[in-house]
């Protein structure tokens, strides 16, 4: 008999390129009847503790997570981002353990670099354009923790000075392409750090990557694969699930939600055994939905 748990372990908040607050992110999934959730922003963990508080008050489990950015062929014309989800055990939330990890510290540095990157872009604008986006000059004095992340910055540009949207969208790609300090590593190297931090690595939306051969090599190295996601058609999801089961790897089902998106998932959620592998502890019986 197989036990299942209703989950969503991949989605974004306003701390990266999502729109939901951590509280809204968890509350939406609470209404969906989910038992275990993860707010997995790109490279930063700012949402985790807020989401954990909301989840705890809703009787849910919050898995500390982030979507780590690596690259295939960084710095070449064939460069493409490659994302690996890092799931920390629930116990990482206690006694500041999450904050001790190298990925968390990397996230803080990335956050600081993002602030500098945006301020540099603003500084290069025509003063009239800059005034439209930041009329009071408050961004200069905004600390990294409160500085608008990607989606919030896009929304700010669209609302305050729509003609600059395309310019900012095109410019922001350089944050990654030129961010060798943080992103010039292979997925395998990222996976090694994830494991060294005590977390579990799951390759995010594997069908998205152009380089199939390298993707297959990373999948062979990884602990698991995100099979069901809004980025995969149903038949693709089934293929990745079959691959994972044949290779005795983990497979997950998540939304990759950026704003309460509708998404596909197997009706029963995820395997209890997988959820508990990621949590690195047993799930309370009351949260197991079906058997």
């Amino acid at each position: 008999m197989t036990a299942w748990v209703r989950t969503d372990l991949h989605g974004h908040t306003l701390f990266s390129d999502g729109r939901a607050t951590p509280e809204e992110f968890v509350a939406f999934r609470r209404e969906q009847g989910m038992a275990v959730v993860a707010a997995s922003d790109h490279d930063v963990f700012d949402a985790v503790r807020r989401a954990a508080v909301t989840a705890q008050r809703a009787g849910m489990v919050l898995l500390p997570a982030a979507e780590i950015t690596a690259f295939l062929a960084f710095g070449t014309s064939a460069a493409e981002q490659f994302h690996v989800l890092a799931y920390f055990p629930v116990r990482a939330l206690s006694a500041g353990r999450l904050e001790q990890t190298s990925l968390y510290r990397r996230g803080l540095r990335i956050r600081e670099r993002w602030r500098a990157f945006v301020l540099e872009w603003l500084g290069d604008l025509d003063p009239a354009d800059r005034h439209q986006i930041d009329p009071d000059g408050v961004l200069e004095g905004t600390p990294p923790a409160a500085f608008p992340a990607l989606q919030s910055m896009i929304d700010r540009v669209v609302v305050r000075h729509r003609p600059l949207f395309e310019a900012f969208r095109d410019h922001h790609v350089r944050f990654w392409a030129e961010g060798a300090e943080f992103f010039a590593w292979t997925p395998e190297e990222a996976i090694d750090v994830i494991r060294a931090d005590g977390a579990t690595d799951i390759v995010a939306h594997p069908a998205r990557y152009r380089d199939r051969e390298r993707t297959r090599a990373v999948l062979d190295y990884a602990s698991g694969v995100e099979a069901y996601t809004s980025r995969h058609r149903a038949e693709i999801a089934v293929e990745y699930r079959a691959f994972a089961e044949a290779q005795q790897k983990l497979w997950t089902a998540s939304s990759d939600d950026h704003q309460n998106a509708r998404y596909m998932r197997p009706s029963s959620g995820m395997l209890l055994t997988t959820v508990e592998r990621l949590m690195q502890e047993q799930l309370p019986l009351s949260l197991i939905s079906a058997a």
């Binding site: 390129d17 607050t21 951590p22 509280e23 809204e24 509350a27 609470r30 209404e31 969906q32 009847g33 038992a35 503790r49 807020r50 508080v53 909301t54 008050r57 809703a58 009787g59 849910m60 006694a95 500041g96 353990r97 904050e99 001790q100 968390y104 510290r105 803080l108 540095r109 600081e112 004095g141 905004t142 600390p143 990294p144 923790a145 409160a146 990607l150 989606q151 896009i154 929304d155 669209v158 609302v159 949207f165 969208r169 922001h172 950026h258 704003q259 309460n260 509708r262 009351s286 949260l287």
Partner: protein
Amino acid sequence: MLKMRVIRKGVAQVAGGTSLVLLGTGHLGCASPIEQEPAISGELKSQAALDVGYLDFNYQAGTPLNLGFVPYSSPDEFVHTGEQLDIRIAASTLWYRVHPTEPFPTDVARVQALRAEYRVIFQKSGATVRELRLTSGAWTGPDVWSLAAATPTFVVPSSGVDEIAFEVTLFDGAQEGSTVNYAADDFPSVPVFGGELPLKHLLFDNLGSSLRNRIVERGNLLRDNTFVLSYTDWRANTVVDSLSIDRQIGTAIGFGRFGQYEMPIYGDLAYEISYGAGHDGAFGGAEQRLAANGNSRVLPYGQGRTAYEGNVYAYGNTLNLYFHIKAYLVADYSKYTNVTSRRYVDGERVFLRERWDNLDGEPNRNYDFSLENAP
């Protein structure tokens, strides 16, 4: 029989305290006399000893400065009179508030030059009844990333208090002039339960799919007294099965990192919640509407949460309650730009469904509460 041994501490001493009180440091202005509730002996294993927690001074969404005091208490999420607390702040929070644009240093000794001073103001109906001054003293955590500074413990007065307000000064002892002051209005007060007796709070909420009700002050409701009846939005979600409600109200153009795209947009659920009250099984008057309260004392840390509340007078031996919930969809397009299609008129309030919430969902099976005389 429960025996409690109470150790009375002198002025300016607190159980477990290390570097308690700063008087005349200049950071918090004029100091006033400090009183401290009797500390509870660590030998106790009583109900009172269970009420131990701490206040995390940290990011709190929806507050004026996105900063607030969130309690982590045992055995529930509420702060009670007589509870033993301390205040903790993460080193990174402290640093970024004092040095908002400077990178967080990796030198533990450098970070430990930071200090937080708190004026803890116990209030009743908005008036100060007692106050404490505490300073962060003990740093814990193996390295700079997990460092947190805690105050000595203190005990919430055992009566006559309904909330705690705070004034805070953060400063860097290694850098002259690096001081940030926060006034009491900068943070929401922390509600304290048990200090308003005979007023009690009866809370109907849920934990996941499980419906539950709690008397926050514990014990029974008090006969011939008024209590506050609260019914939460999340419970209403559960009872009406909000998951099965189609909340889409149209579509709009969204802008993201990959360009612009059409996205579904959603309306908000709104509830009308009424209760029927009986006394010793006799139901008389009409159902009474509960008022939506976005600033409820029983949901003080829930950004955007709503409790539906009313004052109810309890008499007889048993109070009987049931609830009547009506759910509406509110089509508010004003929060979206570039709306491309609308299913409803802007501002339209669409009736969706109604449900009754009583014990087991069966007719004539109400939630029953025994009453007792006020002490």
